[in-house]
């Protein structure tokens, strides 16, 4: 492998890793607060892609308006899902709420098949993002280049929000102890909705960045990236935002290099093996907090 090729793969890996990181943050934040694996998150990511097709192809809106519409629609979808499918189960056993999440994922996939048909649909081209640029010896598209930068910016902003604002403090309190924070006067439902707003906003951003260089969208497209991003979140320690980011980059990079080595069939196998290995040796992930078991 030449140095140029190596750099090329590195950039591609970091770029896809950045997208995984954006989605993984959604998983990790929801898990941190609700202790729920939001199985529907990958499908929200898929729905965001269809919203884009709707806005740009069916309504022929310019890209900057479309992006705003996609972000808004995805956030609304996420908050509605939380209100309808998760909120009634606040006091239910954890298994029930997880089953509800699986049900939502199933519903979204079937809904997408019904509304947009199971056939792949072309994703609109955003001229300014698909332009190719050359950096030294490597040539790439704008989107590949700005993805990791955008990811870092979002993670930085999110950390500022969580560590230095009132709602961020409320979020930290809720993730530490659900019931006590309720007793302290924190409006739990608002905090949870806000978590979903952030998660879905990032998923929508990730969706735009993910699909722009890819040709098509189909209803099951979200399930595998969804799983991978969850693994990224577990790898970094679920509940930790820098952890999710790191996990996303690690999975993106290793996937790209496995594909480059000619084992593209097994890139997903590697991700799942990574998951099982991490769970066995460090179940709380790299930056996760240790949980003690109480009777």
């Amino acid at each position: 492998m030449t140095a140029t090729a190596f750099l090329q793969y590195c950039l591609a890996g970091i770029s896809i890793g950045g997208i995984y990181a954006l989605i993984a943050i959604g998983y990790t934040m929801v898990y941190g607060i609700l202790r729920l694996i939001n199985f529907a998150h990958g499908d929200i990511f898929m729905m965001a892609a269809y919203f884009m097709i709707f806005a740009m192809v069916d309504f022929a809106l310019p890209w900057y308006v479309s992006i705003i519409i996609v972000l808004a629609a995805t956030v609304i979808l996420g908050v509605v899902i939380e209100r309808v499918a998760y909120k009634p189960l606040r006091t239910a056993p954890r298994m029930s709420i997880m089953i509800s999440a699986i049900g939502v994922s199933y519903l979204l996939q079937n809904l997408a098949t019904y509304l947009f048909s199971a056939l792949p649909k072309g994703y609109p081209k955003i001229e300014f993002l698909t332009k190719s640029i050359t950096l030294g010896s490597i040539s790439t598209s704008v989107v590949t280049f700005i993805t990791p930068i955008l990811t870092l910016v979002f993670v930085f902003l999110l950390l500022q929000l969580i560590n230095h604002t009132k709602i961020g403090m409320a979020m930290r309190a809720v993730s530490k102890d659900f019931e006590t924070s309720q007793l302290m006067g924190i409006k739990i439902n608002r905090v949870i909705s806000f978590t979903f707003v952030i998660g879905c906003f990032l998923a929508a951003t990730g969706s735009i960045l993910y699909f722009t260089p890819r040709p098509s969208v189909y209803p099951l497209v979200g399930s595998l990236p969804g799983l991978k991003c969850f693994i990224a979140a577990v790898f970094g320690g679920i509940g930790s935002i820098p952890g999710a980011m790191l996990g996303g980059f690690v999975i993106g990079l290793s996937e790209t290099f496995i594909k480059a080595a000619g084992y593209s069939e097994f890139s997903d196998v590697f991700t799942f093996i990574l998951l099982i290995v991490v769970l066995l040796f460090k179940p709380t992930g790299l930056f996760g907090e240790k949980i003690t078991e109480k009777v």
Binding site: R35, I37, A85, P88, L89, A92, R94, M95, S96, M98, I99, S100, I102, G103, V104, S105, Y106, L107, Q109, N110, L111, T113, Y114, L115, S117, A118, L220, S223, L227, F230, I231, V234, E265, F266, D268, V269, F272, I273, L275, I276, L279, L280, P283, E293, V295
Partner: protein
């Protein structure tokens, strides 16, 4: 009526019930043609019943939330298919890559192949169970889901071409030898699970589900019982997968994706986590609804010359998933909760009749 008499009577009633069901099945066989929807639904329902029961054993009775069912089904289906496709037709099936040399002349009859499929799944469960079962609830779920995906990808990958035919999948898998075959196999398997649930092992499983720490304090060996539940569940999952392969006649690795696990999980939830009869009942209802009763939703509907816009391909699955969500949200216990079907409602009535003063008898 004494307890003993009640017990005897309920066994008699159960035998009677099985006979009635068998007669009904025979009636269906005698009165319908081989392509009838009712036959399809009953066969597929029976297969799903077995898989749902095996999942329920793990998720509902032992409280281990596993999402690996599709992986074990894939393993079972492939093991079964590899050993039962007639040797004469193998060159045709493996037309692109050729069949592996050691495999070319091995052909097993159906029953031993079914058992082999189950055993290999059980072995796999034993291997991955030891590490994976140490994980807590949702981590266990995601690890088993990961395992299922690994199985699916490996089975369909190119290094396995000469064994599993890679991404092309396998076809010409022997069909059911008779209409009754799946019902007999499923019946026997579920009966074994029922015996297990009502044994001391079954009670230990339920104790683990209710409270792991308390169960351990009562002297239940957690690791051993979890492992056992996992292995047995996988064994029957494998047999279910093999039956599925027989039913379909052709399989590819994409048949056994995550959606299949979700389908089975939702059947278990609708039937009631922790109820065998609930799982069986809901399998038939869900399959009949999905494959048969709700079919009309996919057809364009015309009322008085106006086409109702909602009805088109895919609407059936949307309605179906909304029904599922309603069950999950508002009827969390499902059809049966953790109760089992029993004959008490008849026995009670008999009891009352006996107790009611019977004119004349005591007065003379």
């Amino acid at each position: 009526m004494t307890e003993q008499k009640k017990h005897k009577l309920s066994i008699l009633l159960s035998i009677f019930g099985v006979v009635v069901l068998a007669a009904a099945l025979f009636g269906v066989y005698a009165t319908t043609s081989s392509s009838d929807m009712l036959r399809t639904v009953l066969q597929l329902g029976a297969i799903y019943a077995l898989v749902a029961v095996s999942m329920n054993l793990l998720n509902g009775f032992t409280g281990l939330f596993s999402l690996g069912q599709a992986g074990f089904m894939a393993l079972g289906a492939y093991v079964f298919a590899i050993f039962t496709i007639p040797t004469a037709q193998r060159p045709g099936v493996y037309y692109l890559y050729g069949v592996a040399d050691w495999l070319a002349n091995i052909e097993l009859p159906i029953i031993p192949a079914l058992i082999l499929a189950g055993l290999i799944c059980a072995l796999m469960a034993a291997i991955i169970g030891a590490p994976v079962l140490r994980l807590k609830s949702d981590y266990f779920a995601i690890a088993t889901l990961g395992f299922a995906e690994i199985v699916r990808i490996v089975v369909g990958s190119s290094p396995m071409n000469r064994i599993t035919n890679g991404s092309l999948g396998l076809k010409l898998i022997p069909k059911f030898p008779s209409f009754f075959f799946p019902f007999i196999v499923v019946g026997i398997c579920i009966f074994i699970v029922w015996l297990l649930i009502n044994s001391s092992y079954g009670r230990a499983f339920k104790a683990i589900r209710e409270d792991e720490i308390a169960a351990e304090a009562m002297g239940i060996n957690l690791a051993k019982h979890k492992q056992m539940s996992f292995i047995i569940s996988s064994f029957f999952g494998g047999i279910g997968g093999a039956l599925m392969a027989m039913y379909m006649g052709a399989i590819t690795s994409t048949t056994f994706n995550v959606t299949l696990t979700y389908n089975i999980l939702l059947i278990v939830v609708i039937g009631g986590m922790g109820s065998l009869t609930g799982s069986i009942l809901s399998s038939f209802i869900v399959i009949a609804a999905r494959e048969w009763w709700l079919r009309f939703l996919d057809q364009p509907l015309w009322i008085a010359g106006v086409q109702i816009p909602l009805f088109k391909t895919g609407f059936r699955m949307v309605v179906f998933s909304i029904i599922l969500m309603i069950v999950v949200l508002f009827f969390r216990k499902g059809i049966m909760g953790t109760k089992e079907f029993n004959w008490n409602f008849i026995l009670k009535r008999l009891d009352q009749k006996e107790k009611a003063p019977v004119g004349g008898e005591g007065n003379e």
